[in-house]
């Protein structure tokens, strides 16, 4: 009987310890993953060049990994910024602007040359995913054309 009692007490304490331990682990992982995914957007440096006008070809230096978070990019204008974050300056302006009568008086030349490009970002860690967006502005290359009035 005494052995049974000891066994029961050990079993009881084990249950309590195991259940406490599991709870702590689950909560920590859940909290950490979401925070890590937020951190990946805020601290990985992916948004570094969203504040400047990009005036040359080449890599934006986008991070593809941050503390174990895998980061992928999907550009909405792949001709200008590829999914790998490589810039190819366009050969034409973004928008040709004219007055409200549609007349090209020259007054609005170069008003809207630079292209806004949105990139959709996916961040993944241990099966959890977050999305984000980046917006870069890219200037057309030297000697660009601007004869694409849509109005």
């Amino acid at each position: 009987m005494k052995k049974k009692l000891i066994l029961l007490i050990v079993l009881f304490i084990s249950f309590i310890l195991v259940s406490c331990k599991e709870d702590e682990i689950i909560i920590d992982i859940e909290d950490d993953v979401y925070m890590l995914l937020m951190e990946a957007e805020d601290l990985s440096g992916m948004a570094e060049k969203t504040k400047v006008l990009i005036m040359q070809d080449g890599s934006l230096g986008l991070p593809f990994e941050y503390q174990g978070v895998i980061i992928t990019y999907n550009s909405r204008n792949k001709d200008i910024i590829s999914d790998l974050g490589v810039v190819t300056q366009p050969g034409s302006c973004w928008i040709e602007s004219r007055d409200q009568q549609g007349l090209d008086t020259g007054e609005f030349d170069h008003l809207n040359d630079n292209w806004p490009v949105v990139i959709d970002v996916t961040m993944t860690y241990e099966g959890q995913t977050r999305t984000a967006k980046l917006l870069f502005v890219v200037a057309p290359r030297d000697g660009f054309t601007c004869d694409k009035y849509l109005g």
Partner: protein, 591 residues
């Protein structure tokens, strides 16, 4: 020994059961002193509004739209002839009426509801035009000195409601005949049955139509082109179906059908809302502010000046943003008037789905919200923002407007648009009213990011598991409060309730000033339509175990007065809104 073993076994069993008890125990809430202090602040505010509001003119039960928190006097509209008129515009007091009823619910005293009944009784008995329209809205109010109707838009200002969504349940209780007549005449005065045009302005001269809703519902206005894209007709002679007016029309029709058991008004409301759905972009899912463009009725000479923005010169976005081609239409703008589209309209759609059984409105709400957030929502410098774009996803960020026009001055550069906290409610309510978890995932993930970025912490996984909320948040916002209360109500996770309490405490600390709720400590006027008290009462209700469905529900606080007034220079005539001339005044502006 046997007893010890039985005891241990019982403890062991209890240990296994405990987690489940925690869930059940979520309803066992201790009402704290802080909880009482918040309610006490609401009671003080309401008592002060009633005291000072009634004191000004004891011959009426009507209250002013706003009260000067330094003097207790009503806010006044200064007409171009310098007459200063204290005004009562009941369309702008709907949240106060809801607050009064909510306060009666949580206190168990009918005193407050009776005040609301008295106010409405006087208003509905004395300020309804024989044609059924009430004297309220954007251009009409009651002069609290003379108790005469006053127009702010010339001598005969029209009837205008934009997302005001009156408290019809109470109005029907107070004066059934007047309310039903109003709901019917709202359509007669604003909707053109034969052409499906709509006018935000309704005339007080339009006769009451006993055969309202008697016409056959016509074919859809919106048809698709060969590529499956909606064709927005440009045939509206200045009568544009703005969604903010349509939202009020639809809400009235649903309430009317619900009350009379006549399904026809609701069918018209569904027809009207369907046009916005048909006009939405088939690829992005984003929807429109209007489903028609204006017919050009003015000559090219008249319209040569870009500063002349009369709608008779055609679609005002097609004029000012013509560089973008055919997508540039007023209907397709997704950076302006978005509160009307993605907040007020969606809250009405969801209310109609919940109360009146229009289930497909939940799907539409999800389509609109998902489309908008997926395409345009962005976090910039730790803030929730919207990328300006047209509804097909054409980005307009950085665009410099060449010439002046309806949307702003020349050389205006389009930048990110801040996302206000009011977006929390339509997103959350869409999630909560969506049946399948798999359909909730995308919106929850945006909602989670948006809440986090507003400084509330992590709401956790879909369904409310494992939140890691910022219980010390400094946010003092009624929409954040309502969102946390509604999250708690749906999940019974007490962590949401604790954050709700923190937000509630913040609201009282920051906004309860001089005995009134104001937008911030320095603001002069306390506005009756403010949503803070209603939000605080929804928190108080769940703390007391009152079903949220029993409480008056927040739908909008868009009330305003628009019209002619004396400019700040004290000499010239200006045309503006109460939001610009009254609710911007601070205590330092008062001499």
């Amino acid at each position: 020994m046997k007893k010890i073993m039985i005891g241990l076994l019982m403890i062991l069993s209890l240990t296994f059961l405990l987690p489940k008890w925690n869930v059940f125990g979520a309803d066992l809430i201790v009402y704290t002193d802080d909880d009482y202090q918040r309610l006490h602040a609401v009671i003080q505010h309401v008592d002060n509004v009633l005291k000072y509001g009634h004191e000004y003119n004891e011959e009426t039960d009507l209250l002013p739209d706003a009260i000067n928190t330094l003097t207790g006097e009503p806010a006044k509209w200064t007409f171009p002839n310098r007459a200063q008129v204290p005004y009562a515009d009941l369309a702008n007091q709907q949240n106060f009426l809801r607050t009064l009823v909510g306060l009666s619910k949580v206190t168990g005293s009918n005193t407050y509801k009776n005040e609301a009944v008295d106010i409405l009784t006087e208003f509905m008995s004395n300020y309804q035009n024989p044609n059924g329209l009430f004297y309220w809205g954007g251009h009409r109010a009651v002069n609290l000195d003379t108790l005469e109707v006053q127009s702010t838009e010339g001598p005969n200002g029209p009837h205008e409601l934009k997302n005001m969504m009156p408290y019809y349940e109470l109005m029907l209780e107070v004066n059934e005949e007047a309310t039903l007549k109003f709901m019917r005449q709202l359509w007669t005065a604003h909707f053109y049955w034969n052409t499906t045009d709509m006018n935000r302005h309704g005339s007080y001269s339009t006769g009451y139509d006993t055969n309202v809703f008697g016409q056959t519902i016509p074919d859809d206005v919106i048809v698709m082109d060969n590529f499956g894209n909606p064709i927005i007709p440009a045939d509206s002679p200045g009568l544009l179906p703005f969604v903010n007016s349509a939202t009020d029309l639809a809400y009235a029709a649903f309430a009317l059908s619900d009350y009379t058991y006549d399904s026809i008004p609701a069918e018209w409301a569904k027809y009207l809302m369907k046009q916005y759905n048909l006009a939405s972009n088939p690829v992005t899912g984003m929807t429109v502010y209007q489903f028609k463009s204006t017919l050009v009725t003015k000559s090219s000479i008249e319209c040569a000046d870009p500063a002349y923005t009369n709608s008779g010169c055609g679609d005002r976005v097609a004029r000012q943003f013509r560089d973008f081609g055919t997508i540039a239409r007023e209907a397709n703008v997704a950076w302006k008037n978005t509160q009307a589209i993605y907040v007020d309209n969606i809250l009405m759609l969801l209310e109609a789905a919940k109360k009146y059984g229009v289930d497909h409105f939940v799907d539409w709400s999800r389509q609109y919200m998902e489309g908008y957030l997926e395409n345009a929502y962005i976090r910039v410098d730790g803030k929730n923002m919207i990328i300006p774009m047209f509804i097909d996803g054409t980005v307009t960020y950085g665009y410099v407007v060449p010439e002046v026009g309806y949307f702003g001055p020349s050389n205006m550069r389009l930048d990110y648009v801040p996302m206000p906290t009011s977006y929390l409610l339509p997103i959350l309510r869409t999630i909560l009213q969506t049946e399948e978890d798999s359909d909730r995932v995308k919106l929850w993930s945006y909602f989670r990011d948006i809440v986090y970025t507003f400084g509330l912490g992590d709401i956790g996984e879909l369904g409310g598991a494992n939140p890691n909320l910022n219980v010390d948040t400094s946010i003092d916002d009624p929409f954040a409060l309502m969102a946390m209360v509604e999250l708690y109500d749906a999940t019974k996770n007490k962590e949401y309730l604790e954050v709700a309490r923190t937000i509630g405490n913040n609201i009282v600390r920051e906004k309860f000033q001089r005995g009134f709720f104001v937008d911030s400590e320095i603001m002069l006027y306390s506005r009756l339509d403010q949503p803070d008290t209603l939000a605080l009462l929804s928190l108080d209700a769940v703390l007391r175990g009152i079903d949220l469905a029993e409480m008056p529900f927040y739908l909008a606080d868009s009330g305003y007065i628009h019209g002619y007034l004396l400019a700040d220079d004290g000499v010239t005539e200006d045309r503006s809104y109460t939001q610009n001339v009254i609710y911007t005044k601070t205590i330092y502006d008062w001499e």
